[in-house]
Symmetry: C2
Subunit: 385 residues, 2 copies
């Protein structure tokens, strides 16, 4: 089994973008290719995995072929990987396994989403569709509503306060302000977060990620091939993934995402890394409560302590590790199927020391945590240099 | 790199099914599990790849988690693979690569489609969406129309007659009449085929596959694990895949699907098998012209000879090899994303000598050929015992 490296990674600017999906994909691909130190040519790509959730709604089937054709990769085997918001986290997993097989030397991982091309009713539909349909969506529970239930239960069980939720938003917006590709590059205050209108109580506007267009591309290679491209590959040290019941009422706990627990344990085990050794983690903060749950379920703090972890700034620069230096889904934006790949882009830049104003000092070990639905699927990768 | 074996395979009855997608998936899974000779339990599955094309239209996102949960596989990492009608051919490819990596010992490959749950306008949309959208679908070209262009050009270049198209339909309906899971289990005559109404000239009703619900499941395992399950594994000897321009006007030829040529060459090369050594081939006959093109592009006969190959019954029992013993997409039915997995089910049954009334005598080597769009994607597998 070959070791697997990330040798290049790039993302489009996230936000409300007038361009089409294939243009965003091309923007991300060009940026990813430009980060490979040497010898890279598009024709070296042998396999492509592109995550996208809502693309069926955009009236294009079979889009992976279209996207790879658009960047000059006609012929390269390509497929769309769909796992709700974890689509490109699983695309990364599949590329990792393909390279590890020894049959593939260079693979492309992509993520593309054009949420603003969907009419608002469809935006709600696609988000709700990643939860349970008969018991949640069709009963009128929005996706914000699902996470509001998790937040309410966390408050009930552990005394978590709205200030902890707000602290996550404030941190991630501060990080996003240093990310030139983020949708929101503006810091916010605790007061702003705590006085923003309710979307689904207890979640307020600043507790929720937004509607985002964007794409991200990651280039992975076998160890032998990686050495041709760079002297400083970023290794995928371990990968793990899991699923869970889709409907939250089926799960044993509302304050623990078992898929995150299982996927991260597997990734840590394969990497031989403990949570305490991480320098940074890109976690799936589609809502602020999701980051609080993630810090607990990933073992960054004890169960029930995610609220104080946030309040005490243990996930900020100078803390235990930096959680979501990119700004996270909250501030960088959350183009559904592109998020997992974008997390890997941030980890790559950080581990290569190329993260500019938001560089985590001496970053050597990073984790990427990508969730689909309200925890129905999860892919975790541990990266290192 | 471990060898990869198919140790179990089963499909639901294909047709217009009142059940939901997860019930069809469960039917296929139970049948697949029942074909494993010994020691199989659901909890041994470590990874799942489920192909489905139109599922977004059914208002469920993230369905792979739902389906694996429904058959008792909560926790197993699962994703939906979407590549139009080649979705589960690529799911098989991805499972093959995952097992080959050494990280996964047992993987599930599935395909699920409920076309009859989509309103007719959406059925047309989903089929058209697998071709090119701006230049084909939105310009009014139906998917039957795309293949009618290919048929017309084949007739122009090679003198192919309507009788050759009809011969494919007659053969596949005769095969389907012996398949208890086929949608159409009724033989037809040349006269019926040649007098059926035009759908898109020169393609008549019996030149076209139908609207089908169905599911199929294939269980793959590493060599070591396969030996625990059976004394007679079916090996995936070689896999290949490719993409092409989506729009037919971009391609160098209308009478050759380059993705099929490239994917099959790769699969033959890896398997060390020549086309002449095949005992049977399940090929992607979404239209009769597609089978004629496939027999040429897969190297079963020379370019331009696909018409006479059909007329001379070289693809029937007693001929060069048996093409589509299952009845093919034409008679067995074509539930889009389930077709690739169903082709592997047929090859598995044939190579295990369990194909009953349609058994190909002494079958030792088989090929599965799954196409997405009008040739935009293709996955080919060579199987052997």
């Amino acid at each position: 089994m070959s070791r697997v490296a990330i040798v290049g990674a790039g993302m489009s600017r996230f936000g409300a973008r007038p361009e089409g999906a294939k243009e965003l994909f091309a923007e991300a691909f060009a940026r990813a290719a430009s980060t490979v130190d040497r010898n890279f040519e598009a024709r070296l790509v042998q396999e492509a995995y592109v995550g996208s959730m809502s693309f069926g709604g955009s009236q294009i089937g079979n889009p992976a072929s279209l996207w790879v054709e658009h960047v000059g990769l006609r012929g390269v085997p390509a497929r769309r990987v769909e796992n709700a918001c974890a689509s490109s986290g699983f695309a990364l997993r599949d590329a990792y396994l393909a390279v590890r097989s020894g049959e593939i030397d260079v693979a492309l991982v992509g993520g593309v989403e054009k949420m603003n091309d969907l009419p608002p009713i469809h935006q709600r539909y696609w988000l709700g569709a990643s939860g349970d349909t008969p018991w949640e969506r069709l009963a009128g529970l929005t996706f914000s509503g699902v996470y509001a239930l998790l937040a309410s239960r966390h408050m009930h069980e552990f005394g978590t306060k709205p200030e902890s939720l707000a602290a996550v938003a404030v941190k991630n917006h501060a990080h996003g302000a240093r990310n030139e590709n983020a949708q929101f590059q503006k810091a916010i205050t605790m007061e702003q977060a705590l006085s923003s209108p309710f979307v689904a109580e207890p979640l307020r506007l600043f507790d929720c990620c937004s509607t985002t267009d964007g794409a991200a591309v990651v280039l992975v290679a076998s160890e032998a091939k990686a050495r041709e491209f760079t002297d400083t590959p970023v290794w995928i040290e371990g990968a793990g993934a899991a699923t869970d019941h889709i409907a939250v009422h089926d799960r044993p706990s509302l304050t623990r995402l078992d898929a995150t627990v299982a996927a991260s344990r597997e990734a840590y085990r394969r990497a031989g890394v403990r949570p305490q050794e991480l320098d940074l983690a890109e976690v799936h903060d589609c809502f602020t409560i999701a980051e609080i749950l993630a810090t607990e379920d990933l073992g960054l703090c004890a169960k029930g302590q995610g609220g104080s972890f946030a309040l005490e700034k243990r996930g900020d620069y100078g803390g235990d590790l930096v959680v979501n230096p990119s700004g996270g889904l909250k501030a960088k934006g959350h183009p559904l199927g592109a998020t997992g790949a974008a997390q890997a882009v941030e980890a790559f830049l950080q581990l290569r020391g190329r993260a500019g104003k938001r560089q985590v000092p001496d970053a050597e070990t990073a984790l990427c945590h990508n969730v689909g639905g309200s925890g129905a699927t999860c892919a975790v990768h541990v990266l290192g240099v």
